[in-house]
């Protein structure tokens, strides 16, 4: 099953400032009592968006100006904490297709790649400026260019980085590693036979 290469992701943006946003914030544990990922989108950032009576807390994800945003802009160490893939899945099913942030927790980043949701890193000030640009002009188009390693917003181009091998797998359409791994099955079996118990 060939996958689509991911070279660019386009969309409008939503800025969620703050460092060390962890996976419990992204998807509270009680919403992980499920056997599929279906329907998880509505629970993304649930406890930061709604108070216990269900009233809106005015989170950017619920701001009508940013409705339909596909590019999520974050701070430092985004996605830290649990390995739960439910976290990037909830964001993806909410409508997010790429994350631009200062830095990412490793497991979150890997989960994002496996799902085809790239996470790219920009400098501390750049992240803030991109966020401010979105707040100034909510519907400005953002292009996350994986190939050129640039984030374009309005007439600005900002350099971004991501671990090279993750980047290569997006560009080659091997971001979902299963096919590639299956191709190595015989070699894996040979190694397994050589391994001691």
């Amino acid at each position: 099953m060939a996958l689509q290469p991911i070279k660019q992701v386009r969309g409008t943006g939503v800025y969620v400032p703050g460092d060390d946003i962890d996976t419990d914030q992204i998807i509270p544990a009680r919403f992980m009592r499920c056997v599929t990922f279906d329907g998880l989108g509505q629970y993304a950032f649930y406890d930061r968006r709604l108070d216990q009576s269900g009233a809106s807390l005015g989170h950017p994800l619920d701001d009508p100006r940013f409705a339909g945003a596909g590019i999520f802009v974050a701070g430092r160490n985004f996605g830290c904490g649990s390995s739960r893939e439910h976290a990037p899945q909830a964001m993806y099913r909410f409508g997010i297709r790429a994350v631009v942030g200062e830095s990412f927790a490793e497991i979150f980043f890997d989960n994002g790649i496996a799902m085809g949701m790239p996470c790219v890193s920009v400098g501390h000030d750049d992240a803030r400026q991109i966020g401010q640009a979105i707040e100034a002009a909510a519907k400005v188009e953002i292009v996350v260019d994986i190939e050129e390693q640039i984030v374009r917003i309005g007439d600005r181009s900002i350099g971004c980085t991501m671990p090279e091998n993750g980047r290569q797998s997006l560009l080659a359409g091997t971001w979902d590693a299963l096919e590639v791994l299956l191709a190595g099955a015989d070699q894996a079996r040979a190694l397994a036979e050589r391994l001691p118990c």
Binding site: Q25, A29, C80, S82, D110, G184, Q187, C197
Partner: protein, 472 residues
Amino acid sequence: MGRNLFQKVWDRHLVRMLPNGKAQLFIGVHLIHEVTSPQAFAMLRERGLEVAYPDRTFATVDHIIPTDTRQRPWQDRRAEEMVVALENNCRECGITFFDVASGSQGIVHIIGPELGISRPGITLACGDSHTSTHGALGAVAFGIGTSQARDILATQTLALDPLKVRRIAVHGRLQPGVYAKDVILQILQTLGVNGGLGYAYEYAGDTVENMSIEQRLTICNMSIEGGARAGYVNPDQTAFDYLKGRPYVPTGDDWDKAVQRWRDVASDPDATYEDEVSFEAAAIPPIVTWGINPGQSVGVDEKIPDPDALPEDKQDSARRALKHMRLAPGTPIKGTKIDVAFVGSCTNGRISDLREVARHIKGRKVARGVKALVVPGSQRVRTQAMDEGLHEVFIDAGFEWREPGCSMCLGMNPDKLVGDQVCASSSNRNFIGRQGSPKGRTLLMSPAMVAAAALHGEVVDVREVFDYDSTG
């Protein structure tokens, strides 16, 4: 040139390099549980694939299992659905499931070592970030997501980039009342919650060498809280003595050969590391977290910091933390009132943790108004504790004695904080909402510190309230 353990284990398990530059790494053991496996099996079925190595796959139920009753079906319909999915998947695929009937059920990172499934020199993965725990036995063990779990089910391999290795050496003797939990909390405080990004941590030095396996498990458990996906201790005689006779380890001649192999997998004396950091054990106090990530901590004698006085990159998180925790900068952490005390979790739910708590609370009572739980990490731990009469000590003191499971660590089962309760906890995470209530507040500390807080209704210094002279 010498290699460190990570490099040796990596090289041994490398199937091939992939076109995108990643390695295809064979995974020696895959542990699964009910939360991150259902979707992985479903994805497998969608593609018409089978589990490639069922004999290298082991399952348990831990995150959602109630700890107050074992009666089925569980009241939580969704949780019941998840465990039924796991039962069905294991049965259909021929995977060993350590369910309640097996007598070996428990938290995945507690049962792996106690069954001898986790061992030196293997790669081990599980859909849970605290998989780093198993590194205490000299494994390269790390957490993965659900799609990666699917990859392992289908191929027993992953596409990965290697980690750099930071050697963290701890020297000298711990003060009485200071535990392995305090050592890792100190390391996290100093190196930060993302200092380990891209790294595996090798824990070394005479302090670590003198630790028991259970102490090493506590340290390795929280590697991920520092951003390090894996953490390990070089296998030594302590590890071999721990493993001998456990259900899944070799016996006879195979045992002797295994021990020799395990000795060889330890880091070479001339191994190189990306960098090295040292800590003096004697300088480490009992530590308590005040914030919303495990790096936001102080010694029990210290005051909660002023965010303005912190490095720039820590200020934002510190302000959010103090707002949530409703703690004031400049106030001592000692004396912080607690509502709940939780002894348990994959960090500190083992027999040595329970013994240490029992030893100090014997004859004393939980403070009025405090809800206190002791949750053994596995059925084996529970049975051992009861054989030793520890449960009677807990119950007499006013602690609830529970069945094994993740319990109050993470709010996916009925054990949750209510409202803005403050919990003294022996677990590993204090994120907002972690313990099941969006307004709940978590203070991480050692099990002895949890016990002391339970008795006094507030954070206290174990060195002042418990006797450490008689056993030293």
